[in-house]
């Protein structure tokens, strides 16, 4: 059972990624990370019928359109989106660095993880430069901490994070105003999709868990889901 003090890490992430109704209700009722935190913690397990507020039926494609509030701390417009993406990339890069250092993997799996880690590090560099080029201050590198108990659990966490990352980019794409920023975001988005598919395959899950059309995730949901890993 999840509480604000002892978050059920994988549980929150899995709910965010796996359950579109949960995401939709969360966004419709919450409207901000503070309320979202309380709501998610209060709900705990998988029984979504306990969530109050009813589902305002936002369509998946426009679910993230109200994200201005959730991203307010990151900056306005495209800067906010870029800094949000940068924060997620910092998280992913740090995760893979920790995993490589853990010694849990060797051979082909280790090679894959190193490769993905390099991709995320490259994303960090690109997003930082883009924010600076636009005359704004890049988001700081967060302090992070990840559970690294076993190879299997780590791969599952990696898969979950990558699927969430891909959904995060997809959720923001329609909100981006500048064409060049959009092109960059789409380029990175595709790579996160590749990562997600590869990791899903390694842990025996579907490479296309959402079917023919990937589902977007809004910023409030994503930020809530990764909060447990920010130290």
């Amino acid at each position: 059972m999840s509480t604000p003090d002892k978050p059920d890490d994988l549980g929150a992430l899995r709910r965010a990624v796996a359950d579109p109704m949960s995401r939709r209700r969360l966004f419709a009722v919450a409207g901000g990370t503070g309320a979202a935190a309380t709501l998610l913690a209060a709900c705990g397990g998988d029984d979504d019928s306990e969530m109050s507020g009813g589902g305002a039926a936002t369509t998946d494609t426009t679910a993230a359109m109200g994200d201005g509030d959730a991203l307010a701390d990151f900056g306005e417009g495209d800067i906010g989106i870029l800094n949000y993406a940068l924060t997620l990339e910092y998280l992913e890069a740090a995760f893979y660095a920790d995993v490589v250092a853990s010694g849990l993997f060797k051979g082909a799996d280790l090679k894959l993880i190193r490769h993905f880690g390099r991709d995320e590090a490259d994303h960090v560099v690109a997003l930082r430069s883009t924010v600076r080029d636009l005359g704004a201050k890049p988001a700081p590198k967060p302090r992070t901490e990840f559970p690294l108990d076993s190879a299997e659990e780590v791969l599952e966490l990696a898969a979950t994070v990558e699927n969430l990352g891909a959904a995060a980019y997809l959720g923001q794409a329609p909100r981006i105003r500048n064409g060049d920023v959009l092109a960059a975001a789409l380029s990175i988005h595709a790579v996160e999709g590749r990562h997600a598919a590869a990791l899903n395959t390694l842990v025996g899950e579907s490479f296309v868990p959402d079917g023919p059309f990937a589902k977007p995730a809004d910023a409030a949901t994503v930020l809530e889901a990764v909060q447990p890993y920010i130290a």
């Binding site: 494609t61 690109a126 988005h189 999709g193 590749r194 490479f207 023919p212 990937a214 977007p216």
Partner: protein, 215 residues
């Protein structure tokens, strides 16, 4: 942002000079590019892909882009359908090939419907031919098609005007990227060869797929 300029309009493609495409709307540039490519490959007759590119029915530029995507999806769907029919595949490969085939069919249906909803006319399925031999050849070609598809969507998407359509294109391109990764894994190729997936313009995409399109 989105480069459709055709640099091959010299003596190799004299028929282009006879067509006045000024002012060069996006549709004009796309058509000019396709004609240039067709001329390079010796196909003088204008195929359905190019006819569609001229069509400016409702939705304007977005319909053209969707029709371009639809043409690629037809190609991919036909590719997997034929491979499943003609090539001896391992259980593992057959299973994901069926999943991908189903996805591409869903993309075809969704794009065609969206184009009709916008008042446009969906492109016809092109006649296609693939050099199938064995599973290895199939996987190699699948990788090329999926990687090209990702690059095609990423190249075209920034020009989409409607935010809703952009969201749909994004939902599709992520799945194509997932397909590409799955196919690559099966070939022991890196699932994400580059940190940034490249974007291709429509001329480049047409050149990549032209060998398989018989118009």
């Amino acid at each position: 942002m989105h480069d459709d300029s055709n640099h091959e309009t010299g003596p190799a493609a004299p028929e282009l000079a006879a067509i006045d495409l000024r002012p060069l709307s996006r549709g004009g540039v796309i058509a000019k590019g396709a004609l240039g490519v067709a001329a390079l490959y010796g196909a003088i007759a204008v195929g359905p892909m190019v006819r569609r590119a001229f069509a400016q029915n409702g939705g304007g530029g977005d319909v053209e882009i969707l029709n371009f995507a639809l043409t690629l999806e037809y190609l991919e769907a036909a590719f997997y359908e034929r491979a499943l029919d003609q090539v001896e595949l391992s259980d593992e490969v057959r299973e994901f090939a069926e999943t991908i085939r189903d996805d591409e069919n869903a993309h075809v249906d969704a794009l065609a419907k969206t184009i009709r909803d916008l008042g446009g006319t969906p492109a016809q399925a092109p006649t296609v031919a693939f050099p199938f031999s064995d599973e290895a050849a199939f996987l190699e070609l699948a990788q090329t098609l999926e990687d090209t598809g990702v690059s095609a969507y990423d190249g075209a998407a920034p020009a989409i005007r409607s935010k809703e359509l952009l969201a749909t294109a994004g939902a599709i391109v992520q799945v194509e990227a997932r397909h590409a990764a799955r196919v690559r894994l099966a070939r022991n190729a890196p699932p994400a060869p580059q940190a940034f997936d490249p974007a291709l313009n429509q001329r480049q995409v047409l050149r990549a797929i032209q060998p398989f399109v018989q118009s």
